[in-house]
Symmetry: C2
Subunit: 269 residues, 2 copies
């Protein structure tokens, strides 16, 4: 299997995260990667303007990761600079009582992007086959049925003109330790540290198994998963930027044609 297959696995293959090196960074170093991201972002922003102007297609981008995996960081880095008129972030936290009184996709569906928009999910419906599974928040029968529910839901919105990209930001357990320690040590970062996150770290292997199942079972041609080598933040940002740019170019949105009859228009004083 080539490196590409590890990070952009073919639908139907069983994903083994231990095959995926979270330190991978091609031949880039930090400066080269940052420069390349800056260069690609100019193109990405132009495509986003076109997508919005065209108003016919949507792009949904899902980010999942363990704590400190870089969801907030990649969103800030990759999407700052885009026109907020056409880009929004939906963050999914622990469900409220009202949300829990409905099916698990009920709160997600209203957040999917309308035509012309890029919608970014910071966590998503995948939490319902991750933490819900590891912490046994619902019976196994319930979470096992959800993979198919997710595939059907993603097909629904894909069939309606939405491209879907799903990124799992893959860090090593040791990298997480270093990042948690940094949060603890740095005065301007320690407000981000929650003691409540530590029990999640203790279930690392259970989470990896849950991720492998979610990624293997819900990796479709209409809603592919990408496993992003994320120990190096600069390579993570480059990887994600590249996939989004290539997708936008493939969607190839166009500025709309002018209204008929403009030739004879005279603007009155």
């Amino acid at each position: 299997m080539s490196k590409k297959d590890h990070f952009s696995p073919k639908p139907g293959t069983t994903i083994d995260l231990s095959d995926c090196d979270p330190d991978f960074h091609e031949t880039y170093d930090k400066d080269a990667a940052r420069a390349e991201v800056d260069r690609l972002q100019v193109q990405m922003q132009e495509w986003q303007e076109r997508l919005y102007a065209e108003g016919k297609q949507s792009l949904l981008i899902v980010f999942q990761a363990m704590d400190t995996g870089g969801k907030d960081g990649v969103i800030k880095k990759v999407f700052s600079g885009m026109n907020p008129a056409g880009v929004y972030v939906a963050a999914f936290k622990a469900p409220t009582p009202t949300e829990l009184a409905h099916d698990f996709l009920w709160r997600v569906h209203p957040q999917t992007p309308g035509k012309g928009y890029i919608g970014i999910f910071n966590r998503s419906h995948y939490e319902d086959v991750l933490i819900a599974r590891v912490n046994q928040l619902v019976p196994e029968k319930v979470w096992r049925a959800r993979y198919e529910h997710i595939n059907a839901f993603e097909r629904l919105i894909a069939d309606n003109g939405t491209r879907i990209l799903k990124f799992y930001l893959h860090i090593s357990k040791d990298e997480q330790k270093q990042r948690l320690q940094a949060r603890l040590d740095k005065a301007d970062k320690n407000w981000k540290f929650s003691i409540g996150d530590l029990p999640v770290r203790e279930r690392w292997n259970d989470y990896m198994a849950a991720y492998e199942d979610a990624l293997s079972r819900c990796n479709t041609d209409y809603a592919p998963w990408f496993i992003v080598p994320a120990n190096h933040k600069w390579y993570r940002d480059l990887f994600v930027t590249r996939v989004i740019l290539n997708t936008l170019a493939d969607m190839n949105p166009q500025y709309p044609p002018p209204e008929a009859g403009l030739d004879s228009v005279v603007i009155p004083d």
Copy 2:
């Protein structure tokens, strides 16, 4: 009356838009204004990060203008660069049948910013005392009552921790003509031209009267209006950036304190 009073009128005063010079630009030229915006945006982005991290206050920013007044342009210029995790744009177009089946604030209320967020309104509930009045979409008795409804609604969200800034982007009728002509003439802009916009231009004076009433009656200390000289896009952007930056600095959001008990935390391998 000083220039400042024209563009930032005191609550309770009657606003006469013919007093407000849409060409005003202090002593700035384009380059100086653009450089100043770039400088101020760095500070504004830092405040926005703090606002989001603090999670205790909200900022609602309303943009209103005649066609080509620059709502889309100012949003792109001033807010690109902010982290989209904490900033969003709500655009209010012609109401749907479902929206019309409710009171005029029903569709607006859910779009107000939660704690930590900056919410930007591209058009707003003010359309319901502007186009609704000029085009007689509702009886006079109905739109006349709305000024008080708006003031009460804005007080509600202000009392809940939301700062409100309302910008009327003020262009001259002649500047609008030039901008419409430019849309017509430039191949990459003519998709923005709508023949349906021309009747609105013909009602220019009626709209100015409607704006003067709305701005005069709904200019409160908790939700002030600013009349932005907007014939020069670069001065418009500077004016808006400055007001927002000063407001954020006055709100003075702070990073939260760390959780208690961090001193004794040891991160397990």
